[in-house]
């Protein structure tokens, strides 16, 4: 049974449809990457899965169970983690408090997981008492991912985790995503840095105008001359 399944999803904001029938499937041990031009509905798709906008048609399933239009709160309880692209930290809370908020539903496991996150993102350990808002972009992204991981999700949704980061930090974040996935967390992420992202993707979804354009393994999409020409800048 696939971990996450989206079947013919339609939806948008205020009656305007942005998604016009998107299909997606990822297995429990996979990294799925959504790429495509601006306005293709990539982030919208992620938000639709996480219950942040109304799906007017189609279905989303988590391990076979329908989760269409469930509230984010409920989805977090069911083991879904979401890292928004912007405003993904609590700026006035310390790094440590940010992580604790991620484990709000599981306070008993917080200290064990906190130690794991510090091991995983070592720069956060020395900054743990500092307000997260004072951190650099890359470190903020680590806080944001760490917060989502504190709930021990089975599937993690990442909205452009490398947006605005230097190439050095970008590679670092992609390495972390691979490690997270290797630890048994399914990952679905939206990325602007399409080439680099598809290199670590088991599955790639190329969206355009709210519909699937190409769906294949990351490697196959990278090799496809048509995809390269239209979506990866040649």
């Amino acid at each position: 049974m696939p971990l996450l399944e989206a079947i013919d999803v339609h939806g948008g904001y205020g009656g305007m449809n942005i998604l016009n029938g998107v299909d997606m499937t990822i297995e429990a041990d996979e990294i799925g990457v959504i790429v495509g031009p601006n306005g293709a509905g990539k982030s919208t798709m992620l938000k639709a899965i996480f219950g942040l906008l109304t799906i007017t048609q189609g279905e989303i399933r988590l391990r076979g169970e329908a989760i269409t239009n469930l509230s984010p709160h409920k989805l977090v309880e069911m083991g879904m983690g979401f890292v928004p692209q912007e405003k993904n930290i609590f700026p006035s809370l310390s790094v440590e408090e940010n992580l604790e908020m991620g484990a709000f539903l599981k306070p008993a496991t917080a200290s064990r997981l906190k130690a794991q996150i510090y091991e995983f993102f070592p720069p956060l350990l020395e900054k743990r008492r500092q307000p997260a808002g004072e951190l650099s972009g890359g470190q903020r992204q680590m806080v944001a991912m760490g917060r989502a991981l504190m709930n021990e999700p089975s599937v993690l949704l990442l909205d452009e985790p490398t947006a605005g980061l230097s190439p050095l930090y970008m590679n670092e974040i992609f390495e972390r995503v691979k490690t997270i996935n290797a630890a048994g967390v399914g990952v679905l992420m939206v990325e602007q840095n399409a080439k680099q992202a598809l290199r670590i993707a088991h599955k790639g979804f190329v969206l355009a105008a709210g519909q699937n354009r190409f769906t294949d393994t990351g490697a196959a999409l990278l090799d496809d001359p048509q995809v390269a020409k239209s979506f990866l800048g040649g």
Binding site: H73, P91, L93, M101, F104, P107
Partner: protein
């Protein structure tokens, strides 16, 4: 030396008392703003309502405090706080929550809170009449005179003032510990920082909202009761509290509980200093002043009856020159 004692009694003590009351009130306003993002104009009436609850309990059991050696109103305070918290949560469920669920603009919530103000004022007058009442029922307020060696005038402190200082310290330290140590307190700060992310983290935002009203209602009762214990219960108490409390919250930077405390004391002291008769301090110099300079009897900046203009002035000055307040808060 007598003049210094006079200054101590009429500025240091009086300013601290006013400061404590404003600080506790402003913390409530600021907390509600941080979590619900609207200026809650009914807050001062919540203070009056809480005080009324304590007054009614005190009238019903006038001697409950005797075995403990405390004023009955103090013994009834926790009960009054619980009742007011319940009412505050009830008001939220009945009036504010439906509006919130409709996703209305903050100004609509502000207007709704004005409606709640009028409603509460009516209710309070219905139960308490229009006259003022003493919170010491069948008892006398204790007044302590502390003699300072070499001076004829004593330092004067009343029992409610001492209780007020102790309770304010406990409330501030307690609130600080709650916001920085407790899981729900941290979640409250998280929700104030980023409500969407709080929801995406699985924080139960409804529970946080309820908790905010419980804290705000309790603190309002605390401040109102301790003020009324020192002076008297007046049904129109809120009229004199609303403006200074909002001035304090804005001066401190809206959304910052510590800023609200600082703002409370700032407004409180500004008010007392403005109505203080400075001529008293100059009196010992009277003989050495040139003859053409006659010392007037009253050198206060504003008359006591115009005390309310001070927070008004501070409010306008802050809004013009530093709308974010001392601690860089949000702009209402």
């Amino acid at each position: 030396m007598n003049e210094l004692i006079y200054f101590f009694n009429y500025v240091v003590i009086a300013g601290s008392v006013t400061g404590c009351i404003y600080a506790i009130g402003a913390v409530g306003v600021t907390l509600i703003y941080s979590i619900l993002r609207f200026a809650h104009f009914a807050h001062a009436d919540m203070m009056t309502l809480g005080t009324l609850a304590v007054l009614l309990l005190t009238l019903a059991f006038p001697h409950a405090g005797d075995p403990l050696g405390l004023p009955t109103a103090i013994v009834m305070l926790p009960v009054g706080m619980a009742i007011t918290s319940l009412i505050a949560v009830g008001i939220d469920r009945a009036f504010y929550q439906p509006l919130r669920n409709h996703g209305v603009k903050p100004i609509v919530m502000v207007i709704a809170s004005l409606g709640v103000t009028l409603m509460l004022q009516g209710l309070i007058r219905l139960f308490a009449g229009t006259g003022s009442q003493n919170l010491y029922v069948d008892a006398r307020k204790e007044i302590f005179r502390i003699d300072v060696p070499g001076v004829t005038r004593p330092i004067i402190l009343t029992e409610p003032q001492i209780i007020l200082f102790i309770v304010t310290v406990i409330a501030v330290v307690g609130l600080h510990l709650f916001l920085t140590r407790a899981r729900l307190g941290k979640a409250m700060r998280a929700m104030s920082d980023n409500p969407d992310l709080a929801r995406a983290s699985g924080i139960n935002t409804k529970l946080i909202i309820t908790l905010t009203w419980v804290i705000a209602g309790s603190l309002a009762t605390l401040a109102g009761t301790l003020l009324s214990l020192d002076v008297a219960f007046k049904p129109d108490l809120s009229f004199f509290l609303l403006l200074p409390i909002f001035a304090a919250a804005i001066v401190g930077g809206v959304g910052h509980p510590y800023g609200a405390i600082a703002g409370g004391f700032l407004v409180g002291f500004a008010e007392t200093l403005a109505v203080f008769n400075w001529s008293v301090l100059l009196r010992p110099l009277r003989d050495s002043l040139p003859t053409w300079l006659e010392l007037p009897n009253n050198l206060a900046l504003v008359g006591t009856e115009y005390k309310i203009v001070v927070p008004f002035f501070i409010l306008i000055a802050v809004l013009i020159w530093r709308p974010t307040g001392i601690f860089k808060g949000k702009v209402i």
